[in-house]
Subunit: 233 residues, 2 copies
């Protein structure tokens, strides 16, 4: 069997154990099409995966690791949209929008991604309705989640926002004890506060015994109180 150059030492899409929900519904020949139009790559922590403003030639599937999705606003301030989890697509919204990428993505740790050619991806959508349906589900869910966070955030004060983001991370890692993948500044950019105010809220929560802090490590001690703060403030 012919093995394309860029597939050396790479798994095929067919045998991939990290398939997305959408790719899971593809048939054998469609998987081969995907396989012939995608290639795997490794990214080092801190590297930029995709930059806002770039033309979209590939969409990116995140196999392992966490990624920061952000934009730089008109005033030059950074706004972090979300922390993207494994098994997600990067740049998908922009692909179907206007072909220009709208978000920037940087790796929060060493990670593995797959580049997928956009024309192949589009062809799969048009050929396989179940695939299209799953992509739609993905896009809509993500959109709903992020909007819910944003909308709630804009109604809350600093305490409520910080409580929210702690719950967000504890849910993401499925653990009350986790290592923040962000600096304090990035945390601030995620909840739209100043860095100083963010650390102040952290100190207050620590002093009140709601959380324990050890550099990047955070442990939620009073979970219920945190939920109450998230709700009321």
């Amino acid at each position: 069997m012919f093995t394309p150059f860029n597939k050396l030492n790479k798994s095929t899409c067919t045998s991939c154990k990290d398939k997305s929900c959408a790719v899971a519904v593809l048939n054998e020949s469609q998987l081969e099409l995907l396989d012939g139009n995608s290639y795997e790559s490794e990214i080092k922590k801190g590297e930029t995966i995709l930059r806002s403003g770039a033309l979209v030639s590939h969409i990116i599937y995140l196999k392992t690791g966490y990624v920061k999705e952000f934009i730089i606003g008109q005033s030059g301030k950074t706004q972090i949209i979300q922390i993207v989890k494994p098994f997600s697509y990067l740049g998908l919204h922009s692909l179907f929008g206007d072909k220009i990428n709208h978000y920037s993505y940087t790796a929060l740790e060493d990670l593995k991604i797959c580049y997928i050619d956009i024309s192949a991806f589009k062809r799969l959508i048009k050929e396989n309705g179940d695939f299209a349906y799953e992509v739609l589900v993905y896009v809509c869910k993500e959109s709903l989640n992020n909007f819910f966070r944003f909308a709630n955030q804009s109604q809350k004060s600093a305490n409520g926002r910080f409580a929210d983001i702690l719950l967000y991370f504890s849910e993401m890692y499925n653990n009350c004890n986790f290592n923040l993948p962000l600096t304090r500044q990035e945390l601030a950019d995620l909840i739209s506060l100043s860095r100083e105010n963010t650390t102040r809220v952290m100190s207050r929560f620590k002093a009140d015994g709601i959380i324990k802090i050890n550099d990047k490590n955070i442990e939620i001690v009073k979970f219920d109180l945190l939920k109450k703060i998230s709700k009321n403030g």
Copy 2:
């Protein structure tokens, strides 16, 4: 030819002049399927079209008129997500999410909508890849637009937010002179400010000769200055 009861005096989807971009790619038999699973309805100004929390049995296509899309946050405050324009779908995100509707919609004026049965809609997506593609384009564009607004808004002060929303409306109506479809309170809920602060900003802009105000009617006088304010804060 048999005419179903609910189609009396209604146009068919085939002859509809207000088709969405997605429906425009359907073939004859698919249009008939759509026709058999949708019905038109009229809504009076102020009526609720769809409520957050309801199970999604139909999606709604907005043929004419403007609609307010909003959620009520955990604290009870209202957050308006966007003003939905004609030729848009209502409840689409929720359809592909978890079957529960996440946004509420009320009519800002008398308007015409079409209810479309969700199973028929899903069948069209799975049957016709071009249709699915167009639906994806719609969802992604809307998502990008709204995020862009939200992300920018969260970085701006009251002046910047109000300037933004004036530009938003003038673009929507394609006119520097327009009638606000919202009360001052709703305007405040759209840009996440208090009602009082919103009117104060309006008064300031009026005093500075940036806009003219006559009740709900607003005329943008100094367009360039408004853009500058929007940009700088």
